[in-house]
């Protein structure tokens, strides 16, 4: 996939964040959701690049040419999950009907007392995971995040849930992953998103929706080095107030032989890409990578 997302103008300016938060918390979800319609219409017309990326993606996911209703719905569901993020992060979970699928995978992991990589994506809402965490007595989690590229999101976390903001481990410093390893050995789950490539990421080419694109190898390599399992997590929005949170064990252990390392990493990352594609077909309007994902605009 291309690295273009990092160059997108940040739409999450401090003013926009303040506005979303105020509307969400003071006007309430029903009123806020009415406002999503004009907002969606505005972005559908004004954000040409996002619309083109949406069209390309939907063509693949739906297997036919998307029309304006499908494009509208895609952006509408994106904005709906952004709004709901405010409720998830502030612990207002009573708004939602949340179905957990494959929850045993995560319960087993927590019971084992060993940490794991909880590998998610920008498909749907990773924050829906908060609802799962709230339903358990103990849910130790830290989130690996490229803070440089997610300033708006980091600010939102800080404003809405300072405790959660402290659970973010910024990627980039040499000692970052030493901290992660120590957390895993204490039984902590390490949330990471595996579908976007940042500037200096090492990548591998994978088939995704029948076309080759690059995926980062970081999360899988990290699990291999720490000798910990990888559990997949997809929080899919189903419309209205419904979310389905899917868990699935990807690997108990990632074993790499020094000579075949790149090839073996490629196999695991491809398995992640396959599951990502599977869930994207299951919930096509949850794809929230609104940029040139397959680098089709590259010269």
């Amino acid at each position: 996939m291309s690295r273009n997302w990092a160059r997108l103008p940040e739409r999450g300016s401090p003013l926009a964040l303040w506005l979303i938060r105020s509307i969400a918390l003071y006007l309430g979800r029903p009123v806020a959701r009415l406002l999503l319609y004009p907002i969606t219409l505005y972005f559908l017309i004004a954000a040409g690049d996002a619309r083109r990326s949406s069209r390309r993606y939907l063509r693949r996911a739906l297997g036919r040419e998307p029309g304006w209703p499908q494009l509208f719905r895609h952006i509408h569901w994106f904005s709906a999950t952004i709004l709901d993020r405010v409720y998830f992060l502030t612990g207002r979970l009573d708004h939602f009907q949340i179905e957990i699928v494959g929850g045993q995978a995560i319960l087993d992991q927590l019971r084992s007392g060993r940490g794991c990589i909880l590998l998610g994506s920008h498909l749907g809402s990773f924050e829906a995971l908060r609802a799962v965490g709230a339903s358990l007595p103990d849910f130790p989690i830290k989130i690996l995040m490229n803070v440089e590229h997610n300033r708006a999101l980091t600010r939102l976390f800080e404003a809405l849930n300072p405790e959660l903001a402290r659970a973010i481990i910024p990627i980039g410093r040499p000692e970052t992953l030493l901290a992660v390893q120590e957390s895993v050995s204490r039984g902590c789950l390490i949330g990471a998103l595996g579908d976007r490539v940042a500037q200096d990421d090492k990548t591998v080419r994978c088939q995704f929706f029948g076309r080759e694109t690059a995926f980062p190898i970081g999360p899988i390599l990290l699990a291999a080095l720490m000798e910990c399992p990888v559990v997949l997590c997809f929080g899919l929005y189903r419309g209205g107030n419904r979310y389905d949170v899917h868990f699935e064990k990807l690997a108990e252990k990632i074993a790499l032989e020094p000579r075949r390392r790149q090839e073996q990493l490629g196999v695991w990352v491809q398995r992640y890409a396959d599951r990502l594609e599977h869930y994207a077909r299951l919930a096509p309007y949850n794809w929230f990578n609104f940029y040139d994902y397959w680098s089709e605009d590259a010269p």
Partner: protein, 89 residues
């Protein structure tokens, strides 16, 4: 350029082998150059992998809460000095 001490060369070999740096020769690593970001261009995954190899080879753990980390990872020379002070193997 100041040559590497024998121990620095040993650490440089460990670094190159562990991280599969195919286009880097151990004896050509500048001892005072940064290892991360600029310089050798290592990232935080490389740092973890290197820390694991150091723990296996020299028998001590690099800890994330060590205030010295910034200095330890600053260059091959700083890293080698730190290993020499901390090693138990």
């Amino acid at each position: 350029m100041q040559p590497l001490s024998p121990f620095e060369l040993e650490v440089a070999r460990l670094l190159v082998d562990t991280l599969h740096l195919e286009d880097v020769k151990p004896e050509e690593i500048a001892p005072e150059e940064p290892l991360f970001g600029e310089g050798l261009g290592l990232d935080s995954i490389d740092a973890l992998e290197l820390a694991l190899a150091i723990s296996k080879t020299y028998g001590f753990q690099l800890r994330s809460d060590d205030k010295e980390n910034r200095r330890v990872f600053a260059s091959l020379r700083a890293l080698s000095q730190h290993i020499q002070q901390q090693r138990v193997l």
